[in-house]
Symmetry: C2
Subunit: 431 residues, 2 copies
């Protein structure tokens, strides 16, 4: 029986895991697919480099054409990363009728809809489970498992680096910079951590999740994004006192036909399923009209977990090849993009202020909120060391983002308010 032939673009952490899984699980793959699977060529940058796995030098190539132009190769697995050049390789591979598996969130967030549509017109499969939340089969869960439901909200801890940092900061009361250095030493954060700590990595994943979950072409530029770099030990301390856990949360929510997609540090009630997701783990909480609350939890990165998702996609492609039904699974988006304005986005907010410590200040602040019809759920007032000033921590009831931003602007202009120390979204009290 003819083996299915694979070309691998890239042999880094994930690529190495893919080779290991395909080699170690030949029996299971054979049982599921009914024919052998063989890696034919691997694109690398340096053929002579020492590697963790045993691999014949003749399988390695420096030339992408050896893979994307080889008519014997059925499936291209892309684990090299990068965006523009990678997009070109994959478009060529698809036009050469090769099915594609990619783990590349940057690419899918920016060019996913182009690549998917090209795949469909060429009768090819393009799967990308590993691009969101590594080893967690969340995309399949959304597309197949919740196929009949209407998803109204997704909240994701989709970046392991920031979750590791926030977990350590909360647990040990350590400052951000110190924990970041520890994360870098342990390999949980890169030497340039900007994309992780700034929220961009999470935003890319939320773009992919929202596009799929809401059946609507969401662009990365639609995702309002804030990272974790400004979170202080004081913020974490107050959060805890008020019964909340701080997480970097990607939110995609839908009301009627309009959606909001954002990434920001968010306070969750301690009993919320996402609040217990610690260290480098990821989880995606999904609220569907019929199913109610579900959550998918697991490793968000790592060689073998991510490679598991890649090879699961490969199995799906090989099953489709056996059945002769490739290229039909990517449904085009059902809805036109329709993004909520700031007066349509509702949430609770946490707000920490330094104010003048004198009679009438609190009344002046509460009046300002009342004028915008925003009331309070929780209030904490504490004296601080600076003479003449006081610290106020507020949690509002649900308010529109527009109202909240107007209140912030007026607080900034208020002479009694010395400083707006921090503001966070509060989620998870209701669906």
């Amino acid at each position: 029986m003819k083996a299915i032939s694979i070309g691998l673009l890239g042999l880094g952490t994930v690529g190495t895991g893919v080779v290991q899984i395909i080699n170690n699980h030949q029996d299971k793959l054979m049982h599921q697919v009914g024919c052998p699977v063989k890696i034919k060529k691997i694109l690398v940058k340096n053929i002579e480099k020492d590697r963790d796995i045993d691999i014949e030098k003749s399988m390695l190539t420096l030339s992408p054409e050896d893979i994307i132009e080889d008519p014997e190769i059925d499936v291209v697995i892309e684990v090299m990363g990068g965006v523009e050049i990678t997009r070109e390789y994959l478009l060529k591979a698809i036009r050469n009728k090769k099915h594609v598996v990619t783990a590349n969130k940057d690419l899918m967030a920016l060019h996913g809809s182009e690549l998917l549509s090209e795949a469909t017109s060429n009768g090819c499969d393009l799967f990308y489970e590993a691009s969101v939340a590594g080893g967690i089969p969340i995309l399949r869960g959304l597309v197949d498992g919740l196929a009949s439901d209407r998803i109204t909200k997704m909240m994701g801890i989709v970046n392991g680096t920031t979750n590791f940092i926030l977990t350590k900061m909360s647990k040990f009361g350590s400052p951000y910079e110190e924990v970041l250095r520890e994360a870098q030493q342990l390999g949980y954060a890169e030497s340039d951590p900007t994309a992780d700590v700034g929220g961009l990595d999470a935003a890319r994943k939320m773009t992919i999740l929202a596009t799929l979950g809401f059946s609507m072409n969401i662009d990365l530029s639609d995702v309002s994004t804030k990272g974790i770099t400004e979170i202080t030990e004081e913020d974490l301390d107050y959060s805890k006192r008020l019964g909340y856990t701080m997480k970097l949360i990607g939110i995609a929510s839908r009301t009627g036909e309009k959606v909001e997609v954002s990434v920001q540090p968010t306070l969750l009630p301690e009993a919320h399923p996402l609040a217990g997701v610690n260290d480098e783990y990821n989880a995606v909480y999904v609220y569907g009209e019929a199913v109610g609350e579900t959550m998918f939890y697991g490793p968000g990165a790592g060689s073998l977990p991510t490679a598991t998702s890649v090879v699961s996609d490969l199995v799906a492609i090989m099953k489709n090849m056996r059945l002769g039904v490739n290229g039909r699974s990517a449904a085009s988006p059902q809805y036109e993009k329709n993004i909520k304005q700031s007066d349509e986005i509702y949430s609770k907010y946490f707000l920490r202020l330094h104010v003048k410590d004198e009679i009438g200040v609190f009344a002046s602040i509460t009046t300002l909120f009342a004028e915008h019809n925003v009331s309070f759920e929780k209030i904490l007032q504490l004296p601080i060391k600076d003479k003449g000033s006081a610290e106020i921590v507020l949690v509002t009831h649900r308010a529109s983002l527009q109202d909240f931003e107007e209140i912030l602007q007026q607080l900034k202009d208020n002479a009694l308010v010395y400083d707006i120390k921090s503001t966070y979204r509060v989620e998870g009290d209701e669906a």
Copy 2:
């Protein structure tokens, strides 16, 4: 375009949810499948009964033949429950080339392999996502999402009734009987709760999970089962003091080619992902060699959550119909059944004893454990009210079930030991 025609067996809680979802989500279904979906006939026990949904009387029938013999019906959805008569209906439906969706765990645990093999030989699909953990797409997660991995352990909170009872007992320190009555009043427990509290319901679901996850035909009789009826407030109190949470856990684990499947009250470290799954929620924790830890969390029952899984299966069938590839998805088991003996099952154990309060008793007990090469991880000794007796709580290091049972027998025969109050498995400290 010709509509796909559905026959529904049963119109109880889940059946009503299925009708609601199919009616309310016609647009999404149409978008995914490319043709309309129509329920043609519904088998009920009483046509005149008042129902929560608006449904034409002409759609109802008392005769199963109106569905299973109707050549126009493409898919039979079975939500009537029961085993023997239901098995006959579904075998007939399959022989009449109808695809089947069932939510029936009792049926699938007892006759799953027969029905699946009959479906394959007739070119029909048979899907049963809703039979385990209601709204959670766990079966799809195992089959597709973790397709390339080797699953070595599954631990499930797969019975909502017992999880509700244990959560309330732990939270409020209330006795079992009282919480059971409350659960019955709230509709979380049936008037005859035996199958739930005795562990049988969970055992059925573990049979289905283990068969699928290990690709091995596991029988219900292979599942060693113990329920929650003997759990006392004291047990819960001691568990907490030692840092554990008590849950009814279904365990399916594999070492080499041998497997163990069981259901029993189990202590988990408080930080374990399953320990935070409360109230009527379900979750399945899956450990795969490559992926590591993952968990699927959600509602285990309820009309709409369960119906969501049923309709997702229906969507999968309809997609297969469109592609002309039905009846090919159920891979026959890859391995021969191979069940572990008690000397091959390893676990930690919690043990609570009442012993004579005199010098040498503790030494006598520890010697007994040492003779079986079992050491202790945690020890708690407390005086109790009865004069002359003491209470000892022990947590062992990992020991074989055989050794532990021998120790229990010898403790029973020991005159210094008044009573073995309780024993529980302890899991989750390692994979």
